[in-house]
């Protein structure tokens, strides 16, 4: 039962996360990687910047993993979130759920990213041509989910 949780300020080490969940009991490994993409809501995005409230962010991620491992038979789990500037094509988040069976691994991975986007104090700023904005803060604006 391995668990790796990290908030890092440089490029995510995918191998570290994958190695952390490796176990001969696991038959299914599902990963989610969120990358900075070059478009959002029809605008050209130049880069993203993430800020986290530590240690609350890590504590909330641990709560998510507690819940995941209570609800599904997910033996090993890793989540790494990058903060600071994240250029186009680079990853801001990497989640790995490893279980005996794929249904559990898919459900856990999906639940983790969905819940992170609701409860973990991390903020994303979009830099686009002609401006910048903290996603979700503009009064009245409803932003689509970035990933």
């Amino acid at each position: 039962m391995a668990r790796l949780i990290r908030v890092v300020d440089s490029a995510i080490d995918f191998g570290e996360a994958l190695d952390a969940v490796a176990a001969p009991e696991n038959g299914a490994v599902v990963t989610f990687r969120g990358d900075t993409r070059n478009h959002s809501e029809g605008q050209t995005v130049q880069k993203l910047f993430y800020e986290a409230y530590e240690p609350m962010a890590t504590e909330k991620i641990n709560e998510i993993v507690d819940e995941v491992q209570e609800r599904w038979q997910v033996r090993d789990f890793a989540m790494i979130h990058r903060v600071g500037e994240v250029p186009i094509g680079e990853a801001s988040i990497f989640i790995v759920a490893a279980a005996s069976h794929r249904a559990e691994a898919f459900a856990a991975c999906r639940y983790a990213i969905d819940t992170l986007k609701q409860t973990v104090p991390i903020w994303k700023k979009e830099y686009f041509e002609g401006g910048e904005m903290w996603v979700g803060e503009t009064p009245g604006a409803t932003r689509a989910d970035p990933h």
Binding site: P121, W134, V135, E137
Partner: protein, 93 residues
């Protein structure tokens, strides 16, 4: 520590306020201290903050709060030494 504070009947408490994202940019600080009456709520702390930094008032409707790293409702009572965080809409991932 809270019990001790009550014993000496302090007339004020100090709460550390953490600011993030647009709220930090708006106020121009990431951390500050507010002095409140004992048993002040989160709401009262926000009102005190907005008195010094009026720009933040407009964000009230989109903010959540956390006390010592746990989400807290606006009617929660603060204690001396608490860390109060203003949590704009989160957008991690």
């Amino acid at each position: 520590m809270h019990i001790e504070s009550k014993k000496v009947a302090p007339t004020t408490i100090e709460v550390s306020v953490k600011l993030f994202a647009g709220a930090a940019e708006l106020i121009g600080q990431r951390e500050l201290t507010v002095t409140l009456t004992p048993d002040a709520t989160v709401d009262a702390a926000f009102t005190a903050l907005a008195a010094d930094h009026p720009g933040i008032a407009a964000m009230r409707s989109i903010l959540r709060f956390a006390i010592n790293h746990d989400f807290a409702e606006p009617d929660r009572v603060l204690h001396d030494g608490d860390e109060l965080a203003l949590i704009p809409p989160v957008s991690g991932g």
